[in-house]
């Protein structure tokens, strides 16, 4: 389950004012350089703590409390002049906005930019995307990710899927969990990734002190070194199917996800194959955040 937080009128105005001040404090001439957007957002943290305290506390809990649901959906966000300032502001409240070599800038536009047959599902196409954690092939994946819904029309597909690790584990046997804890899974990187071509890790890890579980997972091209490992993997996928939830992220909503405990995915959505009913294709902005 996720926490759904609807901004009241006062918070909406405060967030809008903060993003506008972020707009003007960063040099408009170099807005294409997202470093300036992120730097401006970071400077606003004290003001945000003061002006939107409940909102700030909610985000602090996601960051610091491992018993929190692991995902928060914010609704009724204001329309910022530059939506990148809004996701940068909220991301800065959570932690340190981060970019990875070969993975583009801080803020990535998730929308259809190509429709090639055989392409893996990704941020730049409209294909269905199985439940996954982001950057499973990176040695240290981002701890959190934010997705801001800029345009998303109900009826055009593009529903989001979410699944938490704690719910998933209730569906698995102890033997399967043991297999999934073995570092026998090979995660290959896509061609654009600048780091190591593939990494070998376990899917599940458990913190020895807190007992909290973490996972990394992406289904396509994942390889396993043992038969018992692949059988546990098929059980894990069945478990995802049982406990995943479908959520529609309407325009002007934003989700914050713990990328170590929550999987996300989506249905296919209207694009090249079937044009959007509203003439505006699904568009989300994404930002990674580390602590």
């Amino acid at each position: 389950m996720q926490t759904v937080y609807e901004l009241n009128d006062q918070e909406q105005s405060a967030v809008l004012e903060l993003t506008q001040s972020s707009d003007s404090s960063s040099d408009v001439a170099i807005q294409a350089d997202q470093v300036s957007i992120v730097n401006a957002a970071v400077k606003l943290i004290p003001a945000a703590r003061e002006r939107i305290p409940d909102f700030y506390e909610l985000i602090r809990r996601l960051r610091e409390d491992h018993t929190s649901p692991g995902r928060i959906i914010l609704q009724r966000l204001p329309k910022a002049r530059d939506p990148k300032t809004l996701i940068a502001l909220i991301g800065s409240l959570l932690g340190m906005p981060t970019k990875y070599d070969g993975e583009g800038d801080f803020i990535i536009e998730i929308k259809e930019q190509s429709s090639n047959l055989g392409e893996r599902p990704s941020f730049k196409n409209a294909k269905e995307f199985y439940l996954h954690t982001d950057l499973s092939y990176a040695p240290t994946p981002p701890r959190f990710l934010l997705m801001h819904s800029i345009a998303n029309a109900q009826g055009d597909g593009g529903a989001s899927l979410f699944c938490g690790i704690e719910d998933t584990l209730t569906q698995l046997s102890a033997l399967d969990i043991e297999e999934l804890r073995k570092p026998q899974f090979i995660f290959p990187a896509p061609p654009h990734y600048a780091g190591t071509r593939e990494v070998q890790f376990s899917i599940l890890t458990q913190n020895a002190t807190s007992g909290a579980w973490r996972l990394r997972f992406r289904r396509d091209n994942l390889r396993v070194l043992s038969r018992s490992g692949i059988e546990a993997l098929t059980q894990l996928i069945r478990a995802f199917d049982k406990v995943s939830e479908q959520v529609f992220l309407p325009t002007d909503s934003l989700i914050l996800l713990d990328n170590a405990t929550q999987l996300h995915g989506r249905t296919a959505f209207a694009g090249t194959v079937a044009p959007s009913s509203l003439g505006q294709q699904r568009h989300l902005n994404r930002l990674y955040v580390n602590l």
Partner: protein, 291 residues
């Protein structure tokens, strides 16, 4: 005078005709061969999946059957893959889908048209071959099941074989006849060694869907329809019914029309692979001799 006919699709450094997001394109490189004093060259193939192009499914292809049938494919006796085989013509079943696909085999239905999508999905059940139809096909071949080692189903889909990836719902090659429960039982009772098909697989094509694809993402009633059908296939599938009785399945065969409704001398022995745990699939180049 007998004629030898190759029943395989060759393996190239191109994607096999399929729909998964998995990269299954073989990659060829060359190394120095093992020799002293003479220069030899030897090739190696990386990323060679055992279920591309023409191949055999063994029981271990099903996760739940791996432990019950642990022996590697090389442990199967050669005579399991050789003998008199009946080629059953089920191509009239496929023609019922003609109105839904264009001449190139692409789905010619507006994915936003809910009624048309539902009609298409509903029509897939007409691909089922029941016990009586199976018996009638066998009668045309003039030999009882007990007198053959296997049966091959001629669907006519071979002509749509391409070295490309497609969406699972978009290409006619993935939609071909399958067996009802009683027809599977008939083959099991006859203790056949194997069956085969000249299309993607011998299975209800509803399993090409997982619920996230575009036609289902845009049409909730179609999604519900598929969800219910998948539930019943989970309990009974051709793969489970046949492989569960160690009846092997040849897929992606290339069957020319001149051998339909005929008996052939079939040879389809895979490589003698005895790698521990390799009990799932095997690449093969089957051929037949006909008088």
């Amino acid at each position: 005078m007998s004629q030898i006919i190759d029943l395989s699709h060759p393996i190239h450094q191109k994607p096999s005709c399929s729909f998964g997001a998995v990269d299954n394109m073989p990659s060829l490189s060359f190394q120095e061969g093992e020799a002293h004093g003479v220069s030899f060259i030897t090739s190696r193939i990386d990323n060679l999946h055992s279920n591309i192009c023409t191949h055999i499914d063994f029981p271990g292809h099903i996760s739940a059957l791996g432990a019950k049938f642990p022996k590697p494919i090389g442990m199967y006796a050669v005579d399991r893959f050789v003998g008199t085989v009946a080629v059953l013509d089920v191509s009239t079943k496929v023609s019922k889908l003609d109105t839904y696909f264009d001449k190139l085999g692409q789905l010619a239905v507006d994915v936003r048209d809910e009624r048309a999508i539902l009609n298409f999905l509903g029509c897939l059940s007409s691909l089922a071959i029941n016990r009586d139809e199976l018996k009638e096909c066998l009668r045309l071949c003039g030999r009882p099941l007990t007198a053959v080692v296997g049966v091959l189903f001629y669907t006519g889909r071979s002509v749509l074989w391409r070295y490309n990836k497609f969406e699972s719902w978009q290409y006619a090659y993935f939609f071909s006849p399958y067996l009802t429960h009683d027809a599977c039982q008939h083959l099991v009772e006859a203790r056949l060694s194997f069956v085969g098909v000249d299309s993607f697989q011998l299975e209800d094509p509803i399993i090409n869907f997982n619920g996230l694809e575009l036609p289902l993402a845009l049409n909730q009633s179609a999604r519900q329809f598929v969800k219910e059908r998948l539930g019943s296939i989970e309990r009974f599938s051709n793969h489970l019914a046949l492989l569960g009785h160690d009846i092997l399945i040849y897929e992606n065969l290339r069957l020319p029309p001149e051998i339909r409704n005929r008996l052939i001398n079939f040879h389809g022995v895979p490589l003698n692979m005895r790698l521990e745990g390799m009990n799932d699939n095997a690449l093969v180049r089957p051929y037949c001799t006909v008088a």
